[in-house]
Symmetry: C2
Subunit: 348 residues, 2 copies
Amino acid sequence: MKYAVIFGANSYEHEISIVSAVVLKKVFRADMSFVYCDSLGHFYLIPKDKMNAKTFSSKAYLKEKELFLKQGGFFEKGLFGEKKLECEMYINLVHGKDGEDGKFASLFEFFKLAYIGPRIEASVLSYNKELTKIYAQKVGVKTLPYKLLKSYDKASLAQDFDFPCIIKPARLGSSIGISVVKDKDELEYAKDVGFEFDEELLVEPFIKDIKEYNLAGCMIKDDFIFSMIEEPRKKELLDFEQKYLSFSGNNEVKEAKLDEALKAQFYEAFKKICNPLFKGALIRCDFFVIDNEVYINEINPNPGSLANYLFDDFSVVLERLARSVKNEKKVKTDFAFLHSINGSKGKL
Amino acid sequence: MKYAVIFGANSYEHEISIVSAVVLKKVFRADMSFVYCDSLGHFYLIPKDKMNAKTFSSKAYLKEKELFLKQGGFFEKGLFGEKKLECEMYINLVHGKDGEDGKFASLFEFFKLAYIGPRIEASVLSYNKELTKIYAQKVGVKTLPYKLLKSYDKASLAQDFDFPCIIKPARLGSSIGISVVKDKDELEYAKDVGFEFDEELLVEPFIKDIKEYNLAGCMIKDDFIFSMIEEPRKKELLDFEQKYLSFSGNNEVKEAKLDEALKAQFYEAFKKICNPLFKGALIRCDFFVIDNEVYINEINPNPGSLANYLFDDFSVVLERLARSVKNEKKVKTDFAFLHSINGSKGKL
């Protein structure tokens, strides 16, 4: 199967997405093209041997072939007309905005490209941290309690809460705009920082040394494939660089030592979250454990480098997923209604 | 301001959308172009004098100029290169799938076209009837109780409920796939019909002669514009044709006679639903009233012909809305992270 990896786009995680794609080139044994979306939304076909950081940071990518999205594929313009990029399966590797907020899912569905990545509804529910909590509750998975601060609603801003707490923009991936707030003095600044990125902020209790675990996986028809469960390295908060260098293959992955009952809880929670909303995507769920109970913290529907480092044989998993994905169905249009109006009720 | 109306697309309400656009041509006093999206996702520029049912039912539209979506606009190809469609404001008039499920919002955001219509998150939350209920509950607006039947979950299918009930596909607009079920004998057939359209069905109590009211409106910055409150004509269920011929201007609108307290309830509920999720759209909320209390039944973020018939001066409302809409912000990309990797940590 021929793949094309899409990465970049208008996102705070633009550069992380480039790193993800460079890593995927190394770890996924498959015939792959690389389609870079710059932050203005223009697409470029990047030759495999130019898939390195400098191509992007030096803007050398501007010299590569530009691609245009049309029904059925990406096309390049040539002297003898348009040429379609040969590809049977696109991989959405755009992190955060554009990639995980529903836009790329919409592009793939509208232009009818088969793709690995979250569908539109799955994107929206995992992109907004409040909706993630509401969704988790609906499917029976625990989450931390929260309050919502809304820049447009004074009553919400006057709420009291206990310290320390953690303040997060509702709709950003990675750690951008997130603050741990130790007391009331730090609060206003943390709000200001957060409101730079979103008009809604989540406030959660901050639990020092909380146990964190990551589990990746996907659905193939009615079955699940799970990765190992990782206990990620951490400081109080992983910063941008730490969090993402981890998937570039420079760190050893630490498999969590867990008893079977707790493992079963992780798998059960993952299934509830994934089935069927995240069909078509390889997702990573980031969990907390408190008093031996599993809480979902975050759903990453396009995790860094597709969390390849958590799987024994990542290439086999991704190939199997690729063979199982489905786009939306085409609706039949026969103009029967318009014919009937014109026939019986006078001209429209 | 120059407008372009987008209509059609891959939707069960494709033909209704054509009717909507023909009606808008008549009622909106403005400089408008018409961009038809056929059910395969190809765009055509339809001259104003050809905006009638026959152009579409006879497929005469195929002879019109094809348009291509690129960054910043729709373009037609000519002998001397590409020409951009002159337009400052797009109006999303695609009903149901594609138009209201987040796809067109995504296209407008990705390709950076200013538009009237629901944003991505608003689309997803109003397109899925279960998410609409969850959202309404979150913002403090009542909805009817429901149970969810999931084709992929046997336990959900074994649930008991009282008759009569109404069964609705979770993600379709209009009345398609909806059945009123009077007793257990009718149940299996109604499920089969519903599951033709969605893998999730909502079951609600069916309340005969329930009072229905429609209220349309929009947000302009922090203010609201409301239409009159209509009591729509009804049978047990409006069928496809009745429901939509109503906005083609052939029926008289019946303003509801309501006391001030109940009116205030409608406005209050509308505000809670609209603010701020549906900013940028002109929406119609369909309410029930039970025991003098208001329940939201459905949020139509692209209502038929934009519910023009409910406003005293529709053109003024739409012009004001157009001047207030905003697209998402551009994210700054400076490649600082990639520079730092290349500088200090060896080449990526």
